[in-house]
Symmetry: C2
Amino acid sequence: MKADAQLEKIFEAFKQRTITRVFYVACGGSSALMYPSKYFLDRESSQITSEIFSSNEFIHRNPQSLNENSLVILCSHKGKTPETTEAAKFAKSKGALVVSLMYVEHAPLADESDFIVNYSWISAGNMEPMPEIMNYAILYKLAFGLLYVKEENKKYEKLVTSLNSLSTVFEKVMAQNEDVINAYAEQYKDEKIMYTMASGANYGMAYSFAICILMEMQWMHSHAIHAGEFFHGPFEILDKDVPFILLMGLDETRPLEERALTFLKQYGNKLVVVDAQNFDLTGIDDEVKGYLAPLVNNVVLRMFALALSKARNHPLETRRYMFKVPY
Amino acid sequence: MKADAQLEKIFEAFKQRTITRVFYVACGGSSALMYPSKYFLDRESSQITSEIFSSNEFIHRNPQSLNENSLVILCSHKGKTPETTEAAKFAKSKGALVVSLMYVEHAPLADESDFIVNYSWISAGNMEPMPEIMNYAILYKLAFGLLYVKEENKKYEKLVTSLNSLSTVFEKVMAQNEDVINAYAEQYKDEKIMYTMASGANYGMAYSFAICILMEMQWMHSHAIHAGEFFHGPFEILDKDVPFILLMGLDETRPLEERALTFLKQYGNKLVVVDAQNFDLTGIDDEVKGYLAPLVNNVVLRMFALALSKARNHPLETRRYMFKVPY
């Protein structure tokens, strides 16, 4: 596959230079999908640290630790998000190695990058095209590949075989959850606000669902609450009428999500739980399950997004500002 | 002052060891007040990187870059937040230098720390005790002091003289904003949701106001939106009926906040703008203005919190879960 050939070249580049710091730079949903990769690097490497910045914050903050020993990974679906293109240019001016993911083959972002990875031609079983999921696969490969090249971290091989099992896993998860998701959509279609919550590798999914699906695509109020922070302020908002979507993963922070679940069950009433532990993950290696669980939960979230949009008669494509007015 | 004597000892400890990484670890409001310090370190140091983690996430994520070359700075008002005490213990077990801020003199957190700094006896002009503001002053001194000791960064001296001018600045800001803040409180007292927004050094203040004031103390829905992320999803929620509190600082990311302001003015109608540029900051050195602006904006936010609680007849001290039920 083309993406794999592109990745091979990038891994060669990893070998050629010192990399002590990774900056994940993107906007909105593209930024959110980088969270599990940072979680992986945090847990697995003592030598390579990482950061996630929204593109414009990255440029204006101008972190002094960005230099020729940095790897900057960017992502923009159509490769023409102006802030992200500008961020790539900025990163190159600092001497960093610049790798960009995009759905299309040619775009302004590509022109400002040392390497690009396209994910446009990969399909996931019998689902409709799910470019976000394919973004993730590439991002995982970049992070795991970096530590494979630099630190002989063997999880890369387990990641690759596990990714190959994903489409089968997704099909089973979809079949298993269709009815319950449709029922949830009917139940919550008239809500004005829905909070999301998660921790660890899953937090990015909670963030993405809040800002991209609920706020952007459904014009519903939302906020992604960190499951640990919940008990230090946000939980006071909870009552029987306030809906929460809780993501439960398989990574080491699961106890935080479990604690939140107990509280939500006791004091709330409107609760959507998406728990990777309930799904058949055959084919995903135990050593990478925690890292990949967000991908599986995300399939359920996407089903929920679609069902919600139908129940609310508000298509996911409807926008009032994005790409329509100057901003 | 006692805090300064404590800080002197800590600076001595900084001299004695290699420090390549700072972890800011706390929960809720105590975590939020660490954001400007990270902003400072990001902008000023190429050698010392930093992270902010909620206490429980820090422990369970178990970042491999935490080691004997790490400085871990924790904060808990009463020094008995269980997750934060546990995080201090965890950090010490990894060999890190552990420094904890607290309002009280003796607490479980103190027992797990190498050094503590108390901020209980400092007062800010004629305001009521504002421990949060005093937290900030100590946190700034720690970050600026670290780079002063390690990298001869001269902004420490400018910081110290500027901090000494703060109480006068606060008094003027309070007098200037009293009427407008009371009017805002009257205007927004019946809202069910208020978003906050900021970028750079100010984002922590937006986060804190959203989760600690609005959600925790007023049981109003909220979400702190990053001003750069706003245009990549969240802005679709905006209409004439959705209230936003926009913080505008004086740091390098101000263009992000200005862009958000333009959009909010065009498509929104319910807008509270707290802009440090409108305040008399005499006595604050130009070179540290961007870093200290969040403190000044926070004074206005605290006035707003108090006015809102009175207008809504919902005292800031009212809780239904915190310290009242097991969790």
